[in-house]
Amino acid sequence: MTGLRAGWAAVLLAVAAFPLAGGWSGSVAWPLFAGAVVVAFGVVVLARRFRLTTGMTLVGSGAVGLLGGYFVARGAIAGGPLEVLRDSVPRLLTSARPAPPTPDLLMPGVLMVFLVALVVAVSVAGERRSLIGPPVGAVVLYTAGALVTAGRADARGLVAVAVVVLAAFGWVVVDRAESTRRVSLGPPGAVLAVLAAVALLAGVLPSRDAFEPRELVRPPVTDLAVSNPLPRLASWAAMADTELLRMRGPELPVRLVVLADYTGAAWQASSLYGPIGAVAPPDLPAGRRAREADVELVVGALDGNWLPTVGRPVSTSLGDVLVDPDSGSLMLPRGVGPGLSYDVRGVVDRPNDDDLAGAKVPTGDAIRRYLDLPGLPATLADYARQAVANTRTPYEQAVALEQVVRLDRHPDAEAPVGSSYARIEQFLFGPAGDAGAGKGTAEQFATAFAVLARAVGLPTRVVVGFQPVPEGPDGYRVIRGVDATAWPEVYFADWGWVPFDPVSGTDSGPSAASKREVLNRLASTTAQPTVPAKDGPPLVVPSQQAQPDAAQAKPRSRHWLLLFPALPLSALLVLACLRAVRRARLRRAGALGAWAWVLDVLLLAGRQPARHLTAPDIAALVPDPEPALRLAALADRAAFAPDTTGPDDSWRLARQVRAGIKRVVPWYRRLFWAVDPRPLRR
């Protein structure tokens, strides 16, 4: 094993393992992985020094590695060695994402890196000194990293590019280390084509339906008795100046819990929770225009099990956090308390006004939960229909409802609590002077909007949380009791959950200008909805649900146009890989492979020799026959002599022959040599 080749392979593997290290929180994983690579190469070097066979090296070292893995994880996983090793990966896949860097959870990653590096080291150290082994090992590690982290660890593909560049460096430079010949442009050109294809594919191919290994294992789901925090809005309002928590990060509303299930009497939070990062994706896909936000939160007087977050949380610095996969509500079974400090990364849907203007809402079973209104009184249904009369789009309906709910109604922290139909009817239609008539907390405003929106077919839910607050001099945003609120969110196809603010109308969601534009148009055509008679018509299916699917079709994305260049480029990528594999196989075949490679080059140059020509005859035809004749003699000897020959300089001669042929072939005809499929058919 030459030092250069081994060093190149080790560096390639260590770089490729970088995304895999993103599967664990903290910075301990990658040094461990790099160490595993070094240990594996060291083991192979020692094994060769002691003249152990390849089989003995692989079996012995692999067994020692597996045994070490068992001893590391046996404290955390019950059972014998087989059970411990078998359950280590499912356990990792059902842990939080990123996983806490505990020994038992780190073990499968370290073991995998060690075993891959061991195989690669053996391939590099062998007689044939594979140049394909290290890139293949790197691809395995990189793919594992992409699977473990759902592609987040290398979202921009920088590590992928680094791996490709390093692999190309190895093929071009390490392969030619023994030769003084200058580097030809063929392999780098192929690498550039591959890079372009990779970059384009990475940018084009949809990742929304990407393979998720965590779907293969059933995460542990906890059924928790949870309380609805809506009634607490009044108590938080009463402790207006009390610091509930503080946040460092962008100005965003802090979410405490999402309420999606409405019984007609009250809202209910989900009671099934799993480890964050391990549970299934949400029932409704996230919006196409989203951004990630990282915040630091410090709990003050807030108590209970709900853990504040921003957006849809994807990771947190706490290891024992549970999440409701559909709503993104975080729960801490041990409870939150003063002084609890943690980081959260969340995804926030941020569609712009133009996106929403023509947005549709989905249909089907997926949204049934968000339209459910058991026993909806006809008064509310009729009121809702009147409110959205003359609206043309779901967005206009939501804006109209937001306006109708806010109309002549006032926030009042002292108003009676409750989310039942009766409380909402009282809130909306109660005669002036009655308790709760026209007055309510954010609970009534949000619930009234949600009920009316569901009545007209808009998928809606209610979020309990805290409104955005300005940043203080110490960089923290101090959230107090007075900031506690609730708001409704409407789901628009392709754009995700969009918040509305029936309390003030402008504090969240779409811009005020956009809403004003809608309201101005509606004002000229829409009369104020009247309180319907108690014996109004029965509830009918809301207009949005009655629309055919064609009307709900998603706006056409033009990304598919990029597939036109991507598909040929991906084909070129595959061809380049197949050609590289063929060349590696030929390299292992010594003089025979070198001669076959020369025949490949002749084929590419349009000089395919006749079937009856012998190797020396063919050699005499090439532009620079001297090295070709020597190579033909070596190949003939390798093929037809009774004894095997030792090392020879056949590949050096082959490269000389190739250079001679290239000199007489115009450059434009050589452009696609690296991806030409014809040699693959030989």
Binding site: L592, L613, T614, A615, P616, F640, A641, P642
Partner: protein
Amino acid sequence: MTGAAIGEHEIAAFQALHKRVGDAVETALRGKREVVDLVLVAMFAGGHVLLEDVPGTGKTTLARAVAGALGGLSRRVQFTPDLLPSDVTGTSVYDPKSGQVGFRPGPVFANVVLADEINRAAAKTQSALLEVMEERTVTVDGVAHAVPDPFLVVATQNPIDLDGTYRLPEAQLDRFMLRTSIGYPELVHELDVLRPGSGAGRIGTVPTVTNPHQVAECARRLATLHVADPILRYITELGTATRADDRLRLGASTRGLRALVRCVQVYAASHGRHFAVPSDVQRLCGPVLAHRLVLTREAQLAGATTTEVLAEITARVEVPRPTPQ
């Protein structure tokens, strides 16, 4: 003699010997090294050569120069229509002194026998050569007499002047390991031959560089040279193709293919290799096989020759290439 395959060091020694003999012969026959090498291939392969050429091109000179370089006994037999078989093989003669009938060897008892204008003798006389060429023995009055080892018959015939000739039968042609022609020399060599005082064409100037025993031993060792299976298959495919060709009434016989293998072994060794390669087969298949093929009447009328037909067949059969499996 060992049964092991010939090794590289022996090959180097043979290559040197082959070069010495060739150089010695070339002192008499200038500019015809390829022909000389072919004759030497036949000699070391234990075969016989048919030189088909017009008069005056050096056929006799070549045969005698080979015999001179070999250091063995050489005899020349001028075949004529009235030549009897016993004139070639020898006969039993009564010795009045001893009162016994003894065998008097004919000119065939030599290391190199030049059968000049062999097609001028009657078929009966030509067939007298059949036994000795194949069996290396002459049977007279029921007694077999072995000819010296090595035994090389270099026969010549004139393809132009066919008056008063008897065409060699296929069976006899098949006894010749290879057929070749010398042709006229190139200008530079012809000038050399014409220059007064030149040694060209003078057999006396040919140095003896080996001996019959050494040649015979080399021939035995060269028979063990490695010929890989793909090459043997290639030779078989060539033979099969000649038998399947519509223009040929008679394709290559198994004896012919065996002769090709033997020649390939010697040719490879003469080039310093202890193994045969496909190029050897292609170089030798014409001289070794062409004279054994018989054209159909239609092909003859069309003006085809067996050499052309064989060249086309060789260009049709796929050659084994040195590529990985």
